[in-house]
């Protein structure tokens, strides 16, 4: 096993950890910080297969998204990512069990080449599967705008791990960077208006 393969495995384990923490943590600032670390790890993985410029573009887009989310998080009251409308269990033990199960599912899914992606290193495939599966868990458990935004950004980061290798054109990298920043802006905005004192929704009968 070469040194680069070892580092690739380390980075993949890293994104499994950050992806799991994003589901488990409640502190909004810590969530955004963890997301930033995840972006750094994803960019690091990309450097193993593509040139540094593409990875740098991803990193910049990710960091800008995190900065936007952080600004919004600072603007709202409280620092805990609440989820008032949830209808399924959300306590820590449930989430730990769910994360463990989903990690196993991710490992299983990565072993099956569903779409015949040739030339994708197995570690990258594993990273993609883990991030996508964890983002599904995240999106399934929550509907608070910040958490949904983080879930979507995790999903996109996982997807791009593979897609960037398949389609490394600069235009696509740029457009997907716009999508990351746009999601951060929109979810931040929704978080902000959710925080403002509001009147109850009127039901028109």
């Amino acid at each position: 096993m070469t040194a680069s393969q070892v580092w690739l495995q380390v980075a993949t384990i890293g994104i499994a950890v950050t992806g799991s923490l994003l589901v488990l943590l409640d502190n909004r600032r810590l969530l955004v910080f963890t997301l930033a670390v995840q972006y750094a790890l994803v960019s690091w993985i990309i450097t193993f297969t593509l040139n540094v410029q593409v990875a740098a573009a991803k990193l910049v887009a990710g960091m800008v998204s995190c900065a936007i989310l952080f600004i919004y998080v600072r603007s709202v009251k409280g620092n805990t990512a609440d989820d008032l409308s949830r209808t399924i269990p959300f306590n820590r033990i449930f989430r730990i069990l769910a994360v463990l199960l989903v990690l196993l599912v991710g490992i299983g899914v990565s072993a099956v080449n569903l779409v015949n992606f040739e030339g994708i290193p197995s570690e990258v495939g594993l990273g993609t599967a883990l991030l996508v599966c964890l983002s599904f868990l995240h999106l399934g458990l929550c509907d608070e705008p910040l958490r949904v935004g983080i879930g979507l950004l995790t999903f996109l980061a996982g997807f791009e791990l593979t897609y960037t290798i398949l389609e490394p054109s600069l235009a696509v990298v740029g457009l997907l960077a716009c999508v990351h920043i746009g999601i951060a802006l929109v979810c931040g905005y929704l978080l902000l208006i959710r925080d403002v004192d509001q009147t109850q929704t009127r039901q028109y009968e």
């Binding site: 409308s85 569903l114 999106l139 996109l156 929109v186 009127r202 039901q203």
Partner: protein, 466 residues
């Protein structure tokens, strides 16, 4: 100078111009409406790739704008579709000062139209999925209102469109790089499943319609009408471009059968759900699901006439939804002014024009005789009864359900509970709503005013319309 770049720059300038006037409804609505109509006119009339003289200067506008290795191309294949979006914007922005959705509506709306236009022009067109995702983000901002604490509908819209974008991008990569043909059935099946998933999201096929009822409950009806028109029109054009570009997809009879089944499910569920609703906003949402289903059914016929009908219905929906959205928005406003509670009993006495607009919009959306939606529905029913009777009956079911809903609400609106005076509706507001209703009826009586023009939007798809 290239025309796609000029269009996008003009769109950006228009958005920037209206930005400082947010909240001054009549001014921003006028600027946005006139601006969008002018850009639409420019798109239709611009001379491409040929020299011409403007103010004594010889000019030649290119139809292509290259950016980072990709191109935006305006040609005869997409010119009418791009113009259509701007003209629709011009019509809808005109009614904003009456409906008063949120303050970001016009600014974000203009940008969203620009993004949809870019999605029509981008080559390879598979990347249009990313532009549609960006449009969905704009839609979230348009739909979000400070009156509602819980934006579940908007959040769902964003999540679903992200999934849809990813599915279409992967399918696009398979189609471009793996050489999908009828001789590679396994690969074709994978690409078809991914495309089906992506388009189920774009066409709001149940259960991917879940954002609609949520946003209907939480957002201004006029904003929902605009977003539905924008996203749905973009989705239909995108689907037709896929069918136009890939032979194996056009020849996949199973796919069209699947489209027809999904459409019948949409029509039946949408109509029955609409019938079960007590809220007018939710009725609008489910009637939309049913209407989207009818459009999909027209595509599922796999005939040039069916594709043209789908585009024609997409165009007519603009009128029906605008009238319905504006009627609902004004009725809510006046009801709260008069009663301080959301009960529409007796609404026909205090806000008759809004009531007429709502009922006309609903009937037109369902394709009732003498309304704008009727000629398309009638032509589709005629085609379907010759080939697929079940599909034909599903369209009739939707008509019957919406008819029952209109009768039920007519009883509520005419309830003698209210004994006060009618609301004094400003003259221009009255004129706008009456014109909308009249236009709805006019297009029903004289369909040749709209259909031949609207179907031109897809005339450039030479494989679908040989």
């Amino acid at each position: 100078m290239s025309v796609p770049l000029i269009i996008l720059i003009l769109t950006g300038i228009l958005a920037i111009v209206v930005l400082p006037f947010r909240g001054r409804w009549s001014l921003t609505a006028s600027i946005a409406s006139i601006g969008a109509l002018l850009i639409g006119g420019f798109t239709l009339l611009a001379t491409l790739e040929e020299p011409f003289v403007l103010l004594g200067t010889s000019l030649k506008w290119s139809s292509t704008w290259r950016l980072l290795g990709r191109s935006m191309i305006l040609d005869q294949g997409n010119r009418a579709a791009v113009a259509f979006m701007y003209l629709v914007g011009g019509l809808i922005f005109g009614g904003v000062w009456i409906a008063r959705p949120n303050r970001t509506f016009i600014f974000v709306g203009i940008i969203s139209i620009g993004v949809v236009a870019a999605s029509f022009m981008i080559q390879p067109f598979l990347f249009a999925a990313i532009f549609l995702e960006i449009t969905a983000m704009g839609a979230v901002l348009i739909l979000s209102s400070r009156e509602s604490t819980f934006q579940s509908g908007s959040v769902r819209l964003l999540v679903l469109y992200t999934f849809g974008m990813v599915a279409i991008l992967i399918a696009g990569w398979i189609l471009e790089n793996q050489g999908v043909t009828p001789a590679t059935p396994e690969l074709a099946a994978r690409a078809t499943i991914l495309l089906a998933l992506g388009f189920c999201v774009l066409m709001a096929v149940p259960p991917f319609h879940i954002w609609l009822p949520g946003t209907a409950r939480q957002s201004n009806p006029y904003a929902l009408a605009f977003v539905s028109i924008l996203l749905q029109s973009a989705g239909v054009f995108f689907l037709l471009r896929f069918l136009d570009s890939f032979v194996w997809l056009r020849e996949n009879l199973g796919l069209f059968q699947g489209i027809r089944v999904a459409a019948i499910v949409m029509i039946c569920l949408g109509s029955i759900w609409a019938l079960a609703q007590q809220s007018l906003r939710k009725i609008m949402a489910y009637a939309l699901v049913s209407d989207f289903g009818v459009t999909l059914l027209a595509i599922g016929t796999n005939t040039p006439e069916g594709f043209q009908l789908a585009i024609g219905m997409t165009g007519v929906r603009v009128i029906s939804l605008t009238v319905l959205g504006i009627g609902l928005a004004t009725l809510e406003k006046y009801t709260l002014e008069i009663k301080e509670q959301a009960s529409y009993k007796g609404a026909a006495y205090y806000s008759p024009i809004s009531v007429v607009a709502i009922l006309t919009g609903l009937l037109s959306l369902a394709g009732f005789p003498l309304s704008a939606g009727f000629p398309g529905r009638w032509a589709l029913i005629e085609t379907l009864f010759a080939t697929d009777r079940l599909a034909g009956f599903s369209v009739l079911l939707s008509l019957a359900c919406i008819g029952l809903i209109v009768l039920r609400w007519l009883r509520i609106f005419l309830s003698p509970e209210y004994e006060g005076k009618a609301v004094l509706v400003p003259l221009v507001e009255r004129g706008f709503m009456i014109s909308g209703v009249a236009f709805c009826l006019l297009l029903g009586i004289f369909p040749q005013l709209s259909y031949p023009w609207v179907v031109e939007a897809v005339a450039g798809m030479t494989q679908l319309f040989p």
